[in-house]
């Protein structure tokens, strides 16, 4: 199977149309007033903000800029403001610094050196704010996780991935960038390196150890049941790299399927209770 970059090319007009319809339909069914999202100034959340504005009108989209002193970057603030202006979004800025400090002081086991765990607290704290606004204002939480990061488990369990709907979760990062360009997200945001902003100078590609252009093609091959050796040969990379990506993808399934219990009875939540999804 061909694994050149063009396999990731989609009909962006159709993708745009489908995702806008998806967002609008869900919001209408839920009887909600609109959507709320964490607007970081990065490409994923900016794409979600733009799609939501195209689907619902900017006045029905609330972008929450959730900053705290350790990771606040003026460039991100400017990009979030640019999105608000470009797509006429509603916005609110929330400084989570004091809430995080209060949490840290209240947890006896808190350790300032435990960077990953403390970073996860930041992601979960953002989730708490987003859901608080959603519940107060009758809004749907629109998540901005993409397929590359979701497959790699590159997110915080119960944190940034928590949402009512995740419209771009079936698009790889490089596809999100293409869609973002198509729908008019400013180029400086489209091109900006992705960061979860859990600690200063944290960048996704550095942490994952691979460029998204390459990662996405490996994931594309795995998605289509290609063997690691086939993918490695096609992409002219080491088989061990593909195998490492595959291991990471498979080992993160616990983060993507969150309800697991022991099967004891007739029908079981998270296993064989198969019900239609009810919107809120």
């Amino acid at each position: 199977m061909n694994l050149s970059a063009d396999v990731l090319d989609l009909d962006w007009a159709e993708v745009d149309q489908r995702l806008c319809r998806f967002i609008k339909d869900y919001v209408n069914r839920a009887g909600a007033e609109g959507v709320v999202l964490g607007l970081s100034g990065g490409v994923d959340s900016s794409t979600i903000a733009a799609l939501s504005a195209r689907a619902l009108g900017g006045r029905n989209v609330l972008g929450l800029t959730l900053f705290e002193k350790e990771t606040r970057r003026s460039e991100d603030v400017l990009h979030a403001e640019l999105m608000v202006k470009t797509f006429e979004l509603k916005s609110e800025a929330v400084d989570t610094t004091h809430t995080l400090e209060a949490f840290n002081h209240s947890a006896p086991v808190f350790d300032s050196a435990d960077r990953l765990n403390n970073g996860n607290v930041k992601a979960r704290m953002r989730m708490i704010y987003v859901y608080y606004y959603a519940n107060r204002l009758r809004l749907i939480v629109c998540g901005s996780s993409d397929k590359s990061e979701t497959m790699m488990g590159y997110f915080t369990k119960w944190g940034d991935v928590a949402a009512d709907i995740s419209p771009i979760m079936d698009l790889y990062k490089t596809q999100v960038r293409s869609l973002a360009r198509y729908i008019g997200v400013p180029e400086e945001i489209v091109e900006k390196p992705s960061s979860p902003a859990l600690w200063p100078n944290q960048f996704a590609e550095e942490e994952l150890g691979i460029r998204f252009e390459q990662l996405d093609l490996i994931l594309f091959g795995l998605e289509r049941f290609m063997k690691p050796e086939e993918i490695a040969a096609r992409l002219r990379v080491k088989k061990s790299l593909v195998e490492a990506v595959k291991r990471r993808w498979l080992s993160a399934e616990h983060k993507r399927r969150m309800l697991l219990t022991a099967k004891l009875e007739y029908r079981t939540v998270g296993a064989d209770f198969r019900l239609q999804r009810s919107p809120l």
Partner: protein, 283 residues
């Protein structure tokens, strides 16, 4: 079939491409009823609704509550609408097998001006990708062709279209208008756009394809319902993705010149089917 009536060579059909409220039969029947009235006003004598249009397609475990016998309470309502409007109506629904409680079929129902005519049980149940039909349904075993005032109508349902022998069986039983009701999501559109034409061409018959519209649990049905003529020409097509309603005339006299020009039925080779059976068993 009413003996006083003669089979019509020409008549108008309506393709009612609707979206459904999942699990809400009352609301869906109201929508079906509205579209029947519309078909009547536009002079159609047959109106076709999509697969599982009584309940919506994504109903999962609720299917055990929603499935009914055929004929049964819901088909009775549609029968009454058919009588009142002097209309033939085709729609889809989950069927509970007569002698069991939880053996279900994915079925198409035909009612007419004289009431209930017949049903077809889907033979090929997709259970791959996002589809899980075999989890709930038992496959049908019989091709269905019904003799009506509008000629012999053949039935297939959605995934059956990938298996040309199902459509072919309806044609060999005399169907000149073959109806395919469907619940096909957008990722499959390119396949169906080809297969709907292919089934018409290879059988030199009219082929009416009616798909769901709307979104159910994130699954976006692509609509695009169409009537394809016996030469493979799309005679009328509904919009993609959204609810729509289109009508067009069927004229059986168009079949003869096409069948003479491309005699696929004359050239059938029955002995190949024995070979096909043998090889399929070895697969």
């Amino acid at each position: 079939m009413n003996g006083d009536r003669r089979m019509k060579e020409r008549f108008k059909i309506a393709l009612a491409q609707i979206s459904c409220r999942q699990g809400n039969k009352t609301e869906n029947i109201a929508n079906i009823s509205k579209n029947i009235s519309k078909a009547k006003k536009q002079g159609a004598e047959l109106v076709i609704f999509p697969e599982m249009s009584l309940t919506g397609y994504v109903i999962k475990d609720e299917v055990y509550d929603l499935a009914e016998r055929i004929p049964g309470p819901s088909t009775k309502i549609i029968e009454d609408l058919a009588k009142k409007n002097d209309m033939h109506i085709i729609f889809g629904m989950p069927e509970r097998s007569p002698d069991t409680e939880a053996t279900l079929h994915n079925s198409a129902v035909l009612v007419g001006p004289d009431g209930y005519i017949g049903k077809y049980r889907k033979m090929y149940l997709p259970t791959h990708s996002i589809f899980e039909e075999k989890r709930y349904f038992r496959p049908g075993y019989e091709a269905a062709v019904f003799d009506t005032d509008l000629g012999k109508l053949g039935f297939i349902i959605c995934y059956d279209i990938y298996f040309p022998e199902v459509t072919r069986l309806t044609r060999l039983k005399g169907a000149k208008l073959i109806v395919c009701i469907s619940a096909s999501p957008g990722v499959r559109r390119s396949y169906f756009e080809i297969l709907t034409l292919a089934r018409a061409i290879e059988n030199t018959a009219y082929f009416a394809y009616v798909n769901l519209a709307g979104i159910e649990d994130g699954l976006q049905f692509w609509g695009g319902s169409r009537l394809v003529g016996p030469s493979g020409r799309v005679l009328v097509q509904a919009k993609y993705d959204v609810d729509d309603f289109v009508t067009h005339e069927v004229d059986y006299s168009d079949i003869r010149p096409i069948e003479a020009f491309l005699p696929t039925l004359r050239d059938l080779r029955p002995e190949l089917f024995d070979q096909l059976k043998h090889d399929a068993e070895q697969l």
